[in-house]
């Protein structure tokens, strides 16, 4: 809010609010990358905010999940304690109530690691998006260290461009969904063989006009599944942030509409508690969306393995 709230003084608040909200949920633009990198095959490889957030998520997942589990496995008497208790509970939950019922006991060991990776990555990426650490750093930077907002060489000012939820970017979730897409193909191929997997798309023994309709639908469905996964996760993560920012923007909008600061303060009495409540709701959404993505991935993989005729 701090970085871009004071950009233009000549346009009205109403025009700024929309841009401000989009600015705070989208990736930082290529004009303000954190690290400049050259183009490779026409693709700009510069490190933007969401790429940086992906690195942070990777580091956090490594520190919070991978390293404790490796340490725990190296111990002679494996009795979980502290943080490991929670991890074991989550891993057991994912294996026993997401993977096992949907994929089946035979392939649980094969697909549980991938589903668990999805779960932890999405959970941490969503969760980190809720922590307004960069806005706090920006406020410190501006008011304590007196760095002007126009100074783009300052690393914290550069970090203020764009949103922090990496899973709120459609490209990130599309990459995750592409993994699911290929996982479905590989699961079906491993379970039934290459030819039979494609034959399983449509049930046998129907009259041929039905196939004319059924086969295109099944092929479209093959692509719609990962597409829906992409949209669901990214839109959910973006939507909550937009709602919070829009409700907070009511203060500025009403203050300008009635041309008095008192009105803005009065609206704050209503919009700040509401934004806090939606932040609480967002915590649930973060957990549910990590669960949903992994559950649906498991269901789709299970549909390729356990074909119903």
């Amino acid at each position: 809010m701090i970085a871009s709230g004071e950009q233009t003084h000549d346009s009205s608040v109403m025009d700024q609010v929309g841009d401000n909200i989009i600015h705070h949920v989208s990736n930082s633009s290529l004009d303000h990358p954190l690290i400049h990198l050259p183009h490779v095959f026409g693709i700009d490889l510069s490190v933007t905010k969401h790429v940086f957030m992906l690195w942070i998520v990777a580091i956090v997942v490594a520190c919070a999940v991978i390293i404790p589990i490796q340490k725990y496995l190296q111990k002679n008497k494996p009795v979980p304690s502290g943080w490991m208790n929670l991890l074991e509970m989550v891993v057991k939950f994912v294996r026993d109530s997401i993977v096992q019922p949907n994929i089946g006991s035979k392939y649980t060991e094969m697909w549980a690691p991938m589903i668990l990776t999805f779960f932890f990555f999405i959970l941490f990426a969503n969760g980190i998006g809720l922590i307004p650490i960069f806005d706090l750093l920006g406020a410190l930077n501006r008011f304590i260290f007196q760095v002007p907002a126009s100074d783009d060489h300052n690393i914290i000012n550069a970090l203020l461009h764009g949103g922090v939820t990496a899973t709120g970017n459609f490209n990130v979730t599309a990459a995750l969904a592409v993994i699911t897409f290929f996982a479905i193909l590989i699961a079906g191929t491993r379970a039934h063989g290459f030819i039979n997997h494609w034959k399983n798309l449509a049930p046998p023994g129907l009259p041929w006009p039905v196939y004319l309709i059924l086969i295109p639908i099944e092929i479209i469905g093959m692509f719609v599944k990962p597409f829906a996964l992409t949209m669901r996760l990214a839109a959910n993560m973006t939507g909550g942030h937009i709602a919070i920012l829009a409700i907070l923007s009511f203060m500025a909008i009403f203050a300008e509409m009635f041309n008095s600061a008192i009105t803005g303060m009065g609206v704050a009495l209503f919009s700040v508690p509401l934004a806090t409540a939606i932040s609480g709701l967002e915590i649930i959404v973060v957990l549910v969306q990590a669960y949903v993505f992994t559950l649906l991935s498991a269901v789709f993989i299970g549909m390729a393995i356990n074909v119903h005729h």
Binding site: A228, M231, R232, A235, N236, V292
Partner: protein, 74 residues
């Protein structure tokens, strides 16, 4: 007249909310009724309700994304 697309988005968002609300409400009502009649089957009922619930939510979210796209791209 050039801002008519905003009107459409507003009505569309309302319709999305109505549809998703009816769908999720019916699912929740059915699940609550089923659990009230057979409390021992609550795990199975929850598992059966989860998947259609998320698919329904996905459709609603898709509608919202397209509404947002209409606003942003006109």
């Amino acid at each position: 007249m050039e801002n008519l697309h905003l009107f459409g988005v507003g009505v569309g968002l309302g319709l999305i909310v109505i549809g998703a609300g009816i769908g999720i409400g019916r699912l929740a009502a059915g699940a609550a009724e089923g659990i009230a009649r057979q409390p021992e089957a609550s795990d199975k009922i929850t598992a059966a309700v989860n998947l259609p619930l998320f698919l329904l939510e996905g459709v609603a979210i898709l509608g919202e994304v397209f509404a947002l796209l209409i606003v942003l791209m006109k």
